[in-house]
């Protein structure tokens, strides 16, 4: 909603002069600190703008030159793809781990707790390096009956590329957080809602998917949004395993041209754009799922 024009705000009808206090005659309280705060903000902004315009090291022209350059855009696509894949896989894994944690079967609960403990303890950088070097630990990957014959075998060196290592590492790193976020959402659904559903004889599946999950989603979305944003920034670690993401692309350019700061600014600008887009998506989803609250 837009604010009415200033003219419309000021007393449309003056109150009749009866001598009794009348809200129509009132004016807003004086707020001197408001103007001080504005002044400080304006000065700081002016300083920033002056710094940007005057600095010759910022090389804004270089920033402009590379902002839409092909290697940078390729890196940007890699960053977006990695974030998207690791978000989806991490959330699916997290959902499974969460269901296992809430399961009535004790072995599943223990396995889920162990999973969360392990993958939450290992820093993401360490996980990327570990998965990238998996071939050293397990030279041959095989699928088959445990301790029995195998159905298929692959050389770990062929399977583990920088890309798969990045996807595996980031998804696994993401999964325990997703699991805990989903669990906190599911447990926050009021008991009465579930009692009402079971009292109506709603089958367990429908109770979960139509009552519990939609209500939990409202609670899950804000922390999940932050989690996706951290993951997006976490993808910048993949350059250590020779992947060219947004940051990697910027680095490749500046190791050639030595224009370090302008290229970092290119990367920063794109990260800001990506996070802004994610934030917009998140608020849209939050609005959708807060219907009825």
């Amino acid at each position: 909603m837009s604010r009415p024009a200033p003219g419309a705000v000021k007393a449309p009808d003056p109150a009749p002069a009866t001598g009794v206090p009348d809200a129509r005659d009132s004016r807003p309280e004086r707020r001197p600190w408001l103007w001080v705060a504005w002044a400080v903000l304006v000065v700081l902004l002016a300083q920033l703008v002056a710094f940007v315009l005057r600095s010759d090291r910022l090389e804004l022209s270089v920033v402009g030159e590379y902002l839409f350059a092909e290697p940078i855009l390729d890196g940007l696509v890699t960053t977006i793809a990695l974030t998207a894949i690791a978000t989806v896989l991490g959330t699916v894994l997290g959902a499974l781990v969460c269901l296992a944690r809430l399961s009535s079967l004790a072995p599943l609960r223990y396995a889920a707790a162990a999973w969360i403990a392990v993958f939450r303890s290992v820093p993401p950088l360490v996980q990327l390096l570990f998965w990238f070097n998996l071939a050293y630990l397990v030279p041959v990957l095989s699928i088959g009956i445990p301790f029995g014959p195998s159905v298929g075998e692959w050389s770990a060196n062929d399977v583990i590329t920088p890309y798969t290592a990045a996807v595996i590492g980031l998804s696994l790193y993401n999964s325990p957080y997703s699991a805990e976020i989903i669990r906190s959402g599911l447990s926050a659904v009021p008991r009465g809602q579930l009692e009402a559903a079971s009292s109506l004889g709603l089958p367990a599946r429908d109770t979960f998917f139509r009552i519990r999950l939609p209500q939990a989603t409202r609670i899950i979305l804000p922390p999940m949004g932050s989690q996706v944003i951290s993951l997006l920034k976490g993808t910048s670690l993949v350059s250590v395993i020779a992947m060219t993401d947004l940051l990697g692309a910027a680095r490749e350019v500046y190791t050639r041209t030595f224009e370090v700061v302008p290229l970092l600014i290119v990367a920063i600008l794109w990260y800001i754009v990506l996070v802004a887009a994610l934030t917009a998506g998140q608020s849209w989803l939050e609005r959708r799922f807060s219907r009825g609250y």
Binding site: A197, S199, L200, L202, R210, Q215, G292
Partner: protein, 254 residues
């Protein structure tokens, strides 16, 4: 129709129900009264399978609720997914309404008929609309529960419970969370159900309602059924001292 025998329920060291027997015949309106903590809510929650019972049995139309007898004659507690059909035969109205907050009023009413009974959507919606009209809320179908007053929410909750065509309606203090001026509209709906000979078990502190609508009044204290009879017997001629004290305290309060 409903037969409760030797029902017992404890929460840790608290005995909430001890050896409760209760029979409800078709078309009866049984009102359960008693002091706070006497086990009234626990009783209706046990009947509705919201609590696992510790002793005794509950039967509806001759069918044991919440258990099955296996081939060797061993009694086995049914898992939640197996009790859904049994729960559907009872409708429960909660003190705190418990309407599904993320669904519109109309959808609150048709969700269970469509998902649980497999009614076609169009049919279920038409019936949801009818039920809402019947509780005086035909125009509120598209609203969300938060947009309704407490009394309106509770009337929706009644419509929702009726939508699965239950054999028996259970009410746990349906008006206790309401402002005094909203109590009447909910009691009116319940009274109209009683006139259509809906079988009901009603926990309430509205003694006036008990007097006028109940076919039988059950007085509970400390987890036991202490006295029961027609409203005239129970209110006009209380036999036990506990009921006399309870009624005195009540008339003094109101």
């Amino acid at each position: 129709m409903l037969r409760v025998r030797g029902l017992g329920k404890r929460f840790g060291d608290t005995v909430a129900l001890a050896d409760v027997d209760l029979d409800v015949a078709e078309g009866e309106v049984v009102v359960v009264i008693g002091p706070s903590g006497s086990g009234k809510s626990t009783l209706v929650r046990c009947i509705d399978l919201l609590e696992d019972i510790d002793a005794g049995s509950v039967e509806l139309d001759g069918e044991l609720l919440g258990f099955r007898v296996d081939r060797r004659g061993v009694l086995r507690r049914l898992p939640a997914r197996r009790t859904a059909p049994q729960r559907r035969r009872m409708g429960m109205v909660f003190q705190s309404f418990n309407l599904f907050a993320h669904l519109t009023v109309e959808r609150n009413v048709w969700e269970a008929p469509v998902r649980a009974l497999g009614e076609p959507l169009a049919e279920a919606r038409a019936r949801a609309h009818q039920l809402l009209e019947r509780v005086g809320l035909g125009h509120k179908g598209d609203a969300y529960p938060v947009q309704l007053s407490g009394g309106q929410q509770q009337r929706v909750a009644i419509a929702r419970a009726l939508a699965v065509r239950p054999r028996l309606m259970l009410f746990d203090e349906p008006t206790s969370a309401l402002d005094p001026e909203l109590v009447g509209e909910v009691l009116a709906v319940m009274e109209s159900l009683a006139q259509e000979r809906t079988t009901m078990v009603v926990v309430t502190h509205e003694l006036q309602f008990a007097r006028e609508v109940a076919t039988r009044v059950v007085f509970m204290d400390a987890g036991r059924v202490v006295e029961q009879g027609t409203p005239d017997e129970v209110f006009g001629n209380p036999r036990t001292e506990r009921l006399q004290t309870f009624l005195q305290r009540f008339s003094a309060a109101s």
